[in-house]
Symmetry: D2
Subunit: 105 residues, 4 copies
C-alpha cells in the first residue's frame, strides 16, 4: 500500500482522519452485504457464490486501508496485534470465560 | 483467533453479523481517538506517546475481528487482499491517477 | 446543538470530517451494546432494563451528531428525510417488494 | 418508517442488529463523500452543488434507519435526545470547557 500510494502521489490524501473515513466506507459496504441475511445462516450464505467473492473483496478493502493507516501512524500492525491477542488471552482466561461473552464496560 | 475462540467456546457468538458489529465497535473506538485532532497534525500526534499506544491497540482490535470474520466466511484474507491490491493497481493506473483521488460512483 | 456548540466555542472542532468520526464513535458504542445478543431476542432485551436506558443514550448521541453535521453542511434534515422516505416509497412499491428485501447494487 | 415498513411487510428484516448494519452502511456512504476532501474546506464544498444533494440523501438515510431502530427498541428518540443534550450541557459546563474538546476516557 505504501508503494501503491507513492506511485500515484496519493500521500497527500492519506492523513489518518481521511483514512479512517475510507475504512468506514468499506466497513459500510461489508455491512450492506450482510444486513438482511438471517443471522444463523449468514456464514453459510457468505461462504458460497455469489456472495463469497463480494465479501472477500470488501474484507480486502478494509484490510488495505487498515494497513495503510497503521503505516502512516508508525504502528507495526502484525506485532501489535499479536501482543493484543496475547494480552486478551490472559485477560479473558478460558476457565473464567468459557461460553460467556465478556461484557462491554 | 480461531484457537482463542475455540478455547473459550465463543464460536456461538461469532456469526458474521455479530462480528461485523464488534468490528464496528472497534472502528468507533479508533475514530474517537482522532475525532477532534487537527487533520494535518494527526499523523504526527498519533505517532507519539501517549496516543501511539492507544491507536495501536485499536488498530489491533480491528484486525483481530477482521481476521476472525474472514475465517468464519472461509475467505483467505491474505491472498484475497493481495489480489485486490493488484486489481486496484491495474484499475487506477499511476499515469491516469497521479495526484488525483478516484471519485466514488 | 448549534447553541450548545456556540456556548462552548466548539465550532472549530466541528468540520464535517470530524463530526462524521464522532458519529462513527457513537455508532460503535451502539453496536457494542448489541454485538453478542441473540439476533431474534435483541429487540426484547433492548426494550427492558438495564439495556434500554443505555441504548437510548447511544441513539441520542448518534442523533445529536447527525443534527449537528446537517447544520454545518446546510441541510434541512427534517425536510430532506421526509422527501427521501417519499422517494423510497415510490421506488420500492408495496406490491413489488412485499416481504422482499431490496438488494444492494 | 413504521408505516412504510408495515406496508412492505419488512418487519421480519428489522431486528436491531440488522438495522444497525443498515445504519452502518449509510454512515459508510456518507463517509465516502467526505473521505478525500480537505478538512478545512469540506463544509463549504458540501454546502454547494453537486455534493450538497448527495450529502443530504445520505444524512436522510442515516436518520431513517435511526428512527426505525429507536422504534423497534421502544425508545422515544426525540425525548431521549433532548434529555441527553440537557445532561451534556450540565456535564460540560461552558465555563470549564470553553474552546476545549472533552477527552474520551
Amino acid at each position: 500500500m505504501r508503494a501503491f500510494t507513492a506511485e500515484r502521489q496519493w500521500e497527500k490524501f492519506h492523513d489518518p482522519k481521511s483514512l479512517i473515513l475510507a475504512l468506514v466506507g468499506e466497513v459500510g459496504e461489508l455491512s450492506e452485504l450482510f444486513q438482511w441475511l438471517p443471522a444463523d445462516d449468514a456464514a453459510r450464505l457468505a461462504s458460497d457464490a455469489p456472495l463469497h467473492d463480494r465479501v472477500g473483496q470488501e474484507l480486502a478493502d478494509v484490510l488495505l486501508y487498515l494497513v495503510r493507516l497503521a503505516d502512516v501512524v508508525n504502528v507495526d500492525l502484525a506485532q501489535t496485534t499479536m501482543s493484543k491477542l496475547q494480552h486478551s488471552a490472559e485477560r479473558f482466561s478460558a476457565n473464567d470465560f468459557r461460553g460467556v461473552a465478556p461484557e462491554k464496560t
